[in-house]
Every structure is written in structure tokens, then in C-alpha cells.
């Protein structure tokens, strides 16, 4: 992997003694879309804020494109764009003026053609002379994205990009993220919408209570932790699960047999179950299977991770 961002042992403990982040190690490859998943207060924003220079870490080191984020912060930060979670924009400025400001602030000479392109891509060009306070919430978020892109960053951080955003804008945002990736931009987004990670990410990191519980390729994660579920609609309702049927429960007042299994487990799978049903003389009328979503995996992981830590403590 051609690493563009490397986080080593980064932790943050506040003066109050609260540990927001606990020795996080993370490598991000050039051009990938990485989703950082976690519940509220897990440490997602803290991690991003440390990488971007807004929060000072208590320990650890970060390199961006080979530049140390502390010692060579200018080179490191030039390569980073940040879209924060809060709609923090200068209300009295116009869209165009605030984008020009951002580009220069990041050490780049004015480039109105590029700014125009970014604004057009975000459907903001018509609003370029509007004061930001006149814009809707969704438009303000687009302005924040434009501000983060006009200095042509290599790595773009999107902190909860679609929180409180309508469906249309969310779809637009996803399209934009894919387009950015095609141009070689590395994207790191935090979200608690699993759907978002599932839709877009190449790799997923799960964070809870300041700890990075795992980092895995999305497909691998789904395969490794994804369970499949088979619902068998029975011809006659059952009062109890017949003996010899492992991993099976009854649902729907005994009209449905629910079978949860991992496809890679030995002896598991639909054919095996069906053979056992036939042997037991149980007739059925319909079959329905579905795989567990990233959401189920996530809930399980966070629950187990926190549980393990509580036991350790």
C-alpha cells in the first residue's frame, strides 16, 4: 500500500483526565476511501482534529505524505482539506469570497478558474455572489466542502458529511466523493450511518470509546463477520425446535424456523439444514435468506469491544 497518511500511537487525554483517544495506529493508502465508523463520542472527530492540527495530541506521531504533522506542519497541512461537522462559515461573506480566502489561506495563489469548477461541481456557481447567511443548511454544507477543496488537497476529511442532510444532497455528496476519488483524492469520512460506509468505503475502521477496534477491507469485514439468516416458512406450526437442529430458533408463533449461520462454518449452510429438515419430516412452503448488514456487524463489534474492555477493567 502506498501510504499517504500514517498515524502512530496517537492518544488524547484532556486535562480533566478524560481519555478521548487511546493509542490509535492507522495507515491510509493513497486514493482510497476510508470510513471511520463509531457511535457519538467514540473519538472520530478527535482523531480527525488531531490529524488536521486543531487538537494537540497527548502522544504519538502523524505523517502526511511523508511530512511530520508537528515539525513539518506547513507541508503536511497544505495537503489536507477538512470539512467539519458543524456548519461553521462566515455568515457575512459571499460564497466566492470565502472560497478565495480559503485557497489563499492554504498558501496557494488565486486561481478563479479552478474555484469556478469546484463551485460548479457542487451546484454553487449560481450562488457565488450570495451571502452565506442567505443559504440553506444544505447549501452551507456544500460551501464548506468547496472551501476544503479549493486548495487542491490530496487528502480530504469529511466529518459526518451527510448528518442532517436531505436525501438528494446525500446522493450528490456520494457522487462527488466518487468523482474526487477518480481524480486521485484520498477520502476519509466519519459517519455513524453504516449505509454510507457500505455504499462508499474501500476500508472501514470501527472506533468506540477512543479505541480503534478494527480496520478491515469492507468486503472482508462483511465476509468475516457477516452472518446469513435463513427463514423457513413451515407448512405446519411447531411448538418446539425439533432435536438435532443446531442454531435454529422459532419465530412467528412457530410458523417460521430461523437459522443463523456463518457461510464458512463447517457443516453449516442451507443444503445441510434442508437435508436435516427432510430427515425430521418437517414440510415447508417458502425460503427466504438475507445477509446481515454492516450495521449488524457494527453493533455487535461495538458491543463486544466495550464489553471486553469493561471486563478487563
Amino acid at each position: 500500500m502506498d501510504t499517504i497518511l500514517s498515524v502512530k500511537g496517537v492518544g488524547k487525554t484532556y486535562a480533566s483526565g478524560h481519555t478521548a483517544l487511546d493509542a490509535v495506529d492507522l495507515d491510509i493508502g493513497r486514493g482510497e476511501i476510508f470510513a471511520l465508523l463509531g457511535p457519538n463520542g467514540a473519538g472520530k472527530t478527535t482523531l480527525i482534529s488531531i490529524i488536521c492540527g486543531i487538537v494537540t495530541p497527548s502522544s504519538g506521531s502523524i505523517t502526511v505524505a511523508g511530512f511530520d504533522a508537528q515539525r513539518e506542519y506547513k507541508q503536511a497541512r497544505r495537503r489536507i482539506g477538512l470539512v467539519p461537522q458543524e456548519l461553521s462559515v462566515d455568515m457575512f461573506e459571499t460564497v466566492l469570497a470565502t472560497c478565495r480566502f480559503s485557497r489563499r489561506l492554504f498558501g496557494r495563489a488565486g486561481h478563479d478558474a479552478l474555484i469556478e469548477q469546484v463551485l460548479r461541481d457542487l451546484s454553487l456557481w449560481d450562488k457565488r455572489d450570495a451571502k452565506i447567511m442567505e443559504l440553506s443548511g444544505g447549501m452551507k454544507r456544500r460551501v464548506l466542502i468547496a472551501k476544503a477543496l479549493v486548495h487542491e488537497p490530496d487528502v480530504l476529511f469529511l466529518d459526518e458529511p451527510t448528518a442532517g442532510v436531505d436525501v438528494e444532497l446525500r446522493r450528490d455528496m456520494w457522487r462527488l466523493i466518487h468523482r474526487l476519488r477518480e481524480n486521485g483524492t484520498t477520502i476519509i469520512l466519519t459517519t455513524h450511518y453504516i449505509e454510507e460506509a457500505e455504499e462508499m468505503a474501500d476500508r472501514v475502521g470501527v472506533i468506540a470509546k477512543g479505541r480503534l477496534l478494527l480496520v478491515e477491507e469492507k468486503g472482508e469485514l462483511m465476509k468475516r463477520l457477516g452472518k446469513r439468516e435463513l427463514d423457513v416458512a413451515l407448512a405446519e406450526p411447531l411448538s418446539a425446535v425439533p432435536p438435532g437442529l443446531d442454531g435454529v430458533t422459532l419465530a412467528n408463533d412457530g410458523r417460521t424456523l430461523r437459522y443463523v449461520f456463518r457461510p464458512e462454518d463447517e457443516g453449516a449452510g442451507i443444503p445441510a439444514l434442508l437435508r436435516r429438515l427432510e430427515a425430521a419430516g418437517i414440510a415447508f412452503t417458502d425460503l427466504e435468506t438475507h445477509k446481515s448488514s454492516l450495521e449488524d456487524i457494527f453493533v455487535g463489534l461495538v458491543h463486544d469491544g466495550v464489553h471486553e474492555r469493561e471486563q478487563a477493567a
Binding site: 488536521c52 486543531i54 494537540t56 503536511a76 497541512r77 458543524e86 489561506l105
Partner: protein, 253 residues
């Protein structure tokens, strides 16, 4: 050096000044005019001369200085306080810009605005009284130096302030009284003891005195001492600003 970044902040701050041009320029002009009418016209007719200078003219340097101090502090403090208040400070903190460059942008703009206000007040004064400037270069120099020192001071106040009340506290309750007691309307020689000695602890006395010297060639305290006090204050503020950025105090978690 991130010159584009410094320039961006400077232009942003100047544009903010232009948006509030009415408040930035008309207020000091109006206040100065009122001061001339009340103190120069109505009361000043009873005071003929101070140290050989016509009382109306004598007021000019002090009035410029008093507006300059309040304007520098409020302008620079709101410049950095506002991004903190609205949350846009995240962009400044995440930008490839050093502490020095950021201060250069903010304090540079505040200083420019203050100097402009000082010159506008000077121009207003000529409508009421005869103004003579014996040392124009020194006058301009002190105008810039004082604006710079108090803009730095204002920057510190802006970083320190946690709410609008604290933001207004220093200009209103510290700078304004010190200015009124700093020899704007009188020569400290006119004060009885012990007030004459007490007043020497007020730094504004030195600023007004040296500024008045650049106009009329005479001041309450020697020029060198005034200059030293001004420079010491400037360096103190600069030191505090550097510490603020090194530690991230009230800017970063």
C-alpha cells in the same frame, strides 16, 4: 513564508472594516467633533493656553491617541474573537500558517485601520483648530507604533475572551478610564500631588506625552522614557501572543 495566507487574512479583515465603515470611521469623527465643541469651544475658552499651546490645539494629540487605543483594542480583539465565536477558527488552526503569520495578518489589518482612523481624526481636528506638527515623521511613527502595540493587546483580549461581556470589559472598563486619566484633556503638571505621581503609573500618560511632543515639541515626560515604555509594552504583548500560540491557550484543546 505563507504570504498568500497572510494576505488573505489581512484582506478579510480590511473587508470586514469596510462593511462596518460607518461605525469604524463616523463614530470616532463624531466623538472628536463633540470633544472639540465641548472641551475646546465651551470649556476651553476659560483655559487659554497649556504649556504655551492653545488649549484647542493641545487637545488634538490626546484625542487622536484616545480613539486610537480604544479602536485598536476593539478592532483586533473582535477580529480573532469572532472566528472563535462562530467556529470558523477551525480553518485558521488547520491551515499551513504559522503563529507569526496569523498575527501579521490580523494585527497588521487592525493597525492599518487604527492608523487610518487616527489620520481621519487629525483631518477632522483641522476643521476646528489650527494644528501644527513639528515632527511629522515621528508623529506618524508613534501613530503606527501605538496602533501596533494596542492591536497586539487587543488580539490577546480576543483570544482570552470567552464571551462578549469579557470582550468589551477591557476596552470599556480599563482602556477608556486610563485614557481619560492619561492627560488627554490636561497636562499632568496641572495635577496636585500625589495625583501627579500616581498618574505616572498610567502607561497612557507616556503615549499621549510623546505623541504631543511630536506635535508641539513639548511633553509631560522625556521622549526617550515614553518611547521605552511604548516599546516595552509592545514587546510584552508580542511575548504573550507567542506563548498563546505555542501552548494553544484558548485556541486549541
Amino acid at each position: 513564508m505563507n504570504t498568500h495566507g497572510v494576505w488573505a487574512i489581512y484582506r478579510f479583515e480590511m473587508a470586514r472594516g469596510l462593511r462596518t465603515l460607518w461605525q469604524s470611521l463616523i463614530t470616532p469623527v463624531l466623538l472628536t467633533s463633540l470633544n472639540f465643541i465641548i472641551f475646546g469651544g465651551a470649556l476651553g475658552s476659560r483655559i487659554q493656553e497649556v504649556g504655551g499651546v492653545d488649549y484647542g490645539s493641545f487637545l488634538v494629540p490626546g484625542l487622536i491617541m484616545s480613539s486610537l487605543l480604544v479602536q485598536s483594542v476593539s478592532n483586533a480583539s473582535i477580529g480573532i474573537y469572532f472566528p472563535k465565536f462562530t467556529g470558523t477558527v477551525f480553518e485558521l488552526l488547520s491551515a499551513p500558517i504559522s503563529a507569526f503569520e496569523m498575527v501579521l495578518g490580523y494585527v497588521g489589518a487592525a493597525t492599518t485601520k487604527s492608523v487610518a482612523i487616527g489620520l481621519v481624526i487629525l483631518a477632522t481636528a483641522t476643521a476646528f483648530v489650527d494644528v501644527r506638527v513639528d515632527h511629522p515623521l515621528a508623529m506618524l511613527g508613534f501613530l503606527i507604533l501605538t496602533s501596533l502595540a494596542f492591536s497586539l493587546f487587543g488580539f490577546i483580549i480576543g483570544v482570552w475572551a470567552k464571551n462578549f461581556e469579557q470582550l468589551n470589559f477591557v476596552p470599556t472598563l480599563i482602556v477608556t478610564p486610563l485614557t481619560f486619566l492619561g492627560g488627554v484633556f490636561y497636562s499632568i503638571d496641572m495635577l496636585p500631588e500625589p495625583w501627579r505621581t500616581v498618574t505616572l503609573f498610567n502607561p497612557v500618560v507616556y503615549l499621549v506625552s510623546v505623541f504631543r511632543w511630536s506635535f508641539f515639541g513639548t511633553g509631560d515626560v522625556p521622549v526617550a522614557i515614553s518611547l521605552a515604555v511604548t516599546l516595552a509594552f509592545l514587546l510584552l504583548c508580542l511575548g504573550i501572543v507567542m506563548v498563546i500560540f505555542r501552548t494553544g491557550w484558548r485556541l486549541k484543546n
